[in-house]
Amino acid sequence: MADDYILQVKDLKKYFPIKGGMLSRVVGQVKAVDGVTFNLKRGQTMGLVGESGCGKTTTGRVILRLYKEKTGGDVLFEGKEVYDLNAKQMRDMRTQMQIIFQDPFSSLSPRLPVGEIIGEAVREHGLVTKAEYDDYVDKVMDDCGLQSFQKERYPHEFSGGQRQRICIARALALNPKFVVCDEPVSALDVSIQAQIINLLKELQEKRGLTYLFISHDLSVVEHISDMVGVMYLGNLVEYGRKEDIFDHPAHPYTKALFSAIPVPDPSSKMKRIVLEGSIPSPANPPSGCKFHTRCKNCMKRCMEEAPVQKEIAPGHYVVCHLYDN
């Protein structure tokens, strides 16, 4: 059964040291990711939501082993621990796991023509023969809605939406199985957003891709995901099928987050739970349940004892004392 899962993440942790003082000694730790557990099936999309600074990007990056080490937990890609791979194995793994960044402006080298940006790594990894190379790059560009005559042009000559297409083409040229999309449409206009989201969905169907889709826009996440995870201060506080999360949100934070979404309906003005205050610092998180400082349902034990993950319905997991029995 485990073969069903392309990605299994168990109790994943990533802390960053805070250096201070004259000797740059470690004086504390930012617990950016502090116990994240979920499984992802092949061909599915997991949406990851939460306020800024809650650890979404770091989660994506630790899974891809873009840091030298993790602080704790397991990342199994197709059943193998990613952090146990040797240099040669990791090189191969790089082509199978890709990332698309939030900012299509700064993530493209301004000095390379687009064809080279997309094709560079393909050549480096020897994915296709020299004879096939040009056609291959054309094909990838075509799949991503770019035209082959644009190969010679430089990134600054493209609009925001087109640059995001270039980023997608660069990632997909390596024929990955798994792609982390980190806020891929947040910097774009609504009308362009729709094009990029449709493109990502279409490519997923064509190529059987699995996505980890990070976004703070809940309506985009609902549209694109099969599974949804909600993060708060480094923890995955709720996780399950999209329908479970959106139709029956269980965690008080998820409920507050959902009620904060402005809906395009002028008669629905204000029926929301406004969360007081802002997210506490991950360097010094509250004791017990990290959400207790802002939670409407906070009980005495919430301040002392951290809740653990519970399955409240098949495949629907929540981390909250309200569901202890």
Binding site: V190, E222, F246, V263, P264, P266, S267
Partner: protein, 420 residues
């Protein structure tokens, strides 16, 4: 004038000609603007409707650039009623910010200039024509009468000064005459408390980088509202914030606005934010207003194909669609606007008149106006025929109609309850 090539290529000779011409035009405008001791009578005017705080009337604001004249605001007409919130929507580059900057006379000069039209600003006992107000006079209008909240509060706060000093300075500048330092500080603390900053004495001594994005935005709002302006321009005030913080800030803006009875001009590309905040909505496309009306008009009965496209392309929680609508094509080149409807090359609902000149405004009701040939009397039936709309647009229209009906039923229901 030599015809420009489609791709915007300019010959050296053409480029030099444009530069020379630009210099001449710009100098003329600048000369007018910099005059000293201009009598007030030259820029006094009367509001067409005394209930309006601002009236934009056929405003044209252009940028004279080396590659040609950019028609950023190209004949914009709408008003902001006193005590109301007007939402301005449209995709990036459509002229939302330039419209609001024109009202502040903060368009980047010298290349950016208000070339024609009027902006009438209501000062209570009198009204000014902003495009004619000389520079020196403008100082006292900014901040006092009209103030602005920007998208990125970090860039608008000075990183090297403490929060307290920066708010003090604003208060001293606009409202500090005859006040001691202590009195000004007291006002600052009050202003910080008014925007919901709990630890106001502490924040008074902090630097901007010590605050979160939401707190910085609160400070910005405190600064802009310190002098109870008549008009608040909020340009994407929550775009850089999380939804939870956004909800707090929107709540705050709404409450403060009511407290000092000012008007808000809210610029955003988020239709959800507009629906929640705005009484009236103005939809801009390529420098022009294509549709305007009450929030109900625009959301329940969108009429312009661009407005419909925008609404259909936004994913909405709880509304499941296979594919999002995406408006085909792209915005026309602002240096080289066509002489027909600017939306025609992307429009999927054209009628034969669309071949002709740019469409004028057609009134659909007292409040609702649209610039589109589909609403000529002879096409009216066609315009409202769902079978002629792209599928995603039809779905969206159906959903909004249903929502409207449900809301009406719900309202009727609760009225009945009240009568019992």
């Amino acid at each position: 004038m030599a015809k420009k090539r489609e791709d915007g290529y300019l010959s050296g000779r053409e480029a030099r000609r444009i530069q020379k011409e630009n210099r001449r035009i710009i100098n003329e405008f600048e000369k007018k603007r910099k005059r000293k001791n201009v009598p007030e009578s030259e820029y006094l005017t009367t509001m067409h409707d005394p209930n309006n705080a601002v009236e934009f009337d056929d405003l044209h604001t252009f940028f004279f650039t080396d590659s040609g004249t950019v028609h950023s605001v190209d004949g914009v007409t709408f008003s902001v009623p006193i005590g109301k919130t007007v939402g301005v929507v449209g995709e990036s580059g459509c002229g939302k910010s330039v419209t609001s900057l024109s009202l502040m006379q903060l368009v980047q000069r010298p290349q950016g200039q208000i070339v024609s039209g009027q902006i009438r600003l209501n000062l209570g006992d009198k009204a000014y024509e902003i495009s004619k107000v000389p520079q020196e006079k403008m100082q006292s209008i900014r901040g006092n009468v009209v103030s602005m909240i920007f998208q990125e509060p970090m860039t608008s706060l000075n990183p090297v000064f403490r929060i307290g000093d920066q708010v003090d300075e604003v208060i001293a500048l606009h409202d500090g005459e005859g006040k001691t330092k202590e009195e000004i500080k007291k006002r600052t603390i009050e202003a910080l408390e008014m925007v919901g900053i709990a630890n106001s004495e502490g924040v008074y001594r902090m630097f901007p980088h010590e605050l979160s994005g939401g707190m910085r935005q609160r400070v910005m709002i405190a600064m802009s509202l310190a002098c109870s302006p008549r008009v608040i321009i909020a340009d994407e005030p929550t775009t850089a914030l999380d939804v939870t913080i956004q909800a707090q800030i929107l709540d705050l803006l709404r409450n403060l606005k009511d407290r000092i009875n000012s008007s808000i001009m809210l610029i955003t590309h988020d239709l959800g934010v507009i629906a929640e905040m705005a009484d009236y909505v103005v939809v801009m496309y390529a420098g022009r207003v294509v549709e305007q009306g009450t929030a109900e008009d625009i959301f329940y009965h969108p009429a312009h194909p661009y407005t419909m496209g925008l609404m259909a392309s936004k994913p909405v929680v709880g509304k499941h669609v296979e594919q999002l609508y995406s408006i085909p094509g792209k915005v026309p080149n602002p240096v080289n606007m066509p002489d027909y409807c600017y939306f025609r090359d992307r429009c999927e609902m054209c009628v034969k008149e669309c071949e002709g000149a740019y469409p004028g405004m057609i009134s659909l009701s007292d409040t609702h106006k649209v610039s589109c040939y589909r609403f000529l009397d002879e096409h009216r039936a066609e315009a409202e025929d769902p079978d002629r709309m792209p599928e995603a647009v039809r779905e969206m229209m159906d959903a909004m109609k249903k929502l409207h009906a449900d809301n009406a039923a719900h309202a009727a229901g609760s009225d009945a309850e009240r009568e019992v």
